[in-house]
């Protein structure tokens, strides 16, 4: 089944309370995906010339301070460190690409969840409401965020198999549905140098977007490519540094509801998640058309 939620703030007030709003949306989708949950928040931009990584290590006692000190030794500056359960956001005085390569070589024991200047991804197995409580999702602010609750179908319930999946710098994907040609597409993408960590179909969709954008496609073009190259059922929500996009398969098998007010844009698998938002009763509400890319972006100040 799986549940997807997304929220894009149009006002400072909604930005401040983004986590509280997204957490209540996620809780409504608890029963749609009791196996694991995850969120991607776009928040707290890294200082100019710096980047931030979200990293995961299963051991709660992992020495993140030592890793942050290593980053400072490598890149200079004062690396920032914020631990959240078994995840940590490390700010590094280097571009995200260099930071990504460094952490893979110097600390192969940690898993990279996201890299960029604004994105933070947290995900873990277990009930979404336990996840939201444990990770303090309600405390987070941000410009926009996506969340996912997973009911696993074709691959194992693991942290790596949880959503959101990183699809590049400041990009992520959440998926409700199942792809039928993912083994074939995975092989093709592996030949192109895309690395996969799981047997999960959604990770293939994430890898596909990553590859298309690496080859020069815009996000909209990459999403339109999904319509040609991915076979199966899907509602995708994709987070970018400036906003998010939604795409449903050509038959629109999987549910999706969009709603917009002057304060926010929201997307969810079911309306009940949107009903938790302030002003939902007056929102413009519609279900996205099949095979159509919808996207929202921050208006530059």
């Amino acid at each position: 089944m799986c549940g997807i939620v997304g929220l894009f703030a149009k006002t400072d007030e909604v930005q401040r309370r983004l986590g509280a709003h997204l957490a209540s949306m996620l809780l409504e989708m608890n029963d749609r995906g009791p196996d694991s949950a995850g969120v991607a928040f776009y928040r707290d931009p890294a200082p100019a010339e710096e980047s931030k990584l979200t990293l995961h290590h299963p051991d709660l006692g992992y020495d993140w301070a030592a890793l942050a000190a290593d980053a400072a030794a490598e890149f200079g500056g004062q690396p920032g460190l914020r631990q959240r359960v078994n995840h940590a956001v490390v700010t590094v005085a280097a571009p995200a690409e260099a930071a990504e390569v460094w952490v893979a070589v110097a600390h192969p024991e940690v898993r990279l969840m996201s890299a960029g200047t604004v994105i933070e991804i947290y995900k873990e197995v277990g009930l979404p409401r336990v996840f939201a409580e444990r990770f303090g999702v309600a405390e987070l602010d941000g410009t926009h965020a996506l969340g996912h609750t997973r009911m696993a179908t074709e691959s194992r319930v693991t942290t790596d198999g949880s959503h959101p999946f990183s699809t590049g710098l400041d990009l992520c994907l959440v998926h409700n549905g199942s792809l039928s040609n993912h083994n074939r597409v995975r092989k093709d993408l592996q030949r192109e140098g895309i690395v996969f960590r799981t047997e999960n179909d959604s990770e293939v969709a994430a890898g596909y977007l990553m590859w298309r954008m690496r080859e020069g496609a815009t996000l909209d073009q990459a999403l339109e490519g999904c319509l040609e190259d991915l076979d199966g059922f899907y509602t995708f929500a994709v987070g970018t540094a400036d906003g998010f996009a939604v795409l449903r398969d050509p038959i629109a098998c999987k549910p999706a509801v969009l709603a917009e007010t002057d304060e926010w844009v929201a997307m969810a698998s079911e309306y009940r998640a949107i009903a938790t938002l302030p002003g939902a009763e007056g929102a413009r509400i519609w279900e996205p058309e099949p095979a159509t890319v919808y996207s929202w972006e921050k208006v530059p100040a």
């Binding site: 549910p255 079911e270 309306y271 009903a275 509400i285 279900e287 058309e289 099949p290």
Partner: protein, 235 residues
């Protein structure tokens, strides 16, 4: 069977959904059913008020999830909010009304009764309709009335792609625009009997001040395989 007066309120914040549905089902077995029910705090629960078979009125005071009022017989179920996928699926008789929007497959396979959506219905509204009537004050999404066999659908707004694809003998009336017609679905002449039919359906749905003459009628061109007399021997 004669129903009692007074309102029975059930709070789903404290009552399990199965208990509510069981109590509603039990109304079919008693001589004097409780005639009027209000369900508060529905919070988008799935399978609300499904399988009813008594002349009772059930008001759901909030949003309903999937398959609300499925298989309804005799009862009048109103959702004061939005409804999820599969509203009034396979409705047999009675009335199901939603004050907001209905998600995909509203009224699917319905055999009788009336489904009223006061907002928009999304994709596949009235798919495989088998005799029920559907009135939508807003618009319907893509693939609505797909393979609809009999019954009537009145849409005051617009229709999405592939309206009436592979339709049999159901009749579709749309006042607004139709994005595209599905295979074997064509526009047909709107005659007096159709205007009368639209007028009756609008009245039944409580829609006032709408001119039945402003609608377009769509139905089957009867060109697909199963309509060819040459294929009669195949059955």
């Amino acid at each position: 069977m004669s129903a009692t007066t007074g309102v029975e309120t059930v709070d789903l914040a404290s009552t399990p959904l199965r208990e509510l549905n069981q109590r509603l089902h039990d109304q079919a077995k008693v001589a004097e059913p409780i005639g009027h029910w209000q369900v508060v705090n529905p919070s988008g629960a799935h399978a609300l008020a499904c399988g009813l078979d008594a002349p009772i009125e059930v008001e759901i005071m909030g949003h309903a999830g999937y398959y609300c009022a499925g298989m309804n017989q005799q009862a009048t179920v109103s959702v004061h909010g939005n409804a999820g996928v599969g509203l009034a699926e396979n409705i047999m008789s009675g009335v199901v009304r939603v004050t907001g929007n209905a998600s995909q497959a509203a009224g699917a396979t319905g055999r009788g009764g009336l489904v009223i959506v006061e907002g928009d219905a999304s994709a596949r509204c009235g798919i495989s309709l088998k005799g029920a009537d559907i009135v939508v004050r807003g618009s319907v999404g893509h693939m609505s009335a797909f393979m609809a066999q009999t019954g009537r659908m009145v849409v005051l707004g617009d229709a999405g792609d592939a309206l009436g694809d592979s339709i049999y003998e159901a009749r579709i009336y749309v006042r607004g625009s139709v994005k595209s017609l599905g295979a074997d679905c064509i526009e047909k002449e709107l005659r007096d009997e159709h205007r009368d039919e639209i007028g009756e359906l609008l009245a039944a749905a409580g829609v006032e001040g709408v001119d039945p003459g402003k609608f377009h009628r769509y139905g089957s061109a009867r060109k697909l395989y199963s309509f060819h007399v040459d294929n009669a021997g195949s059955y």
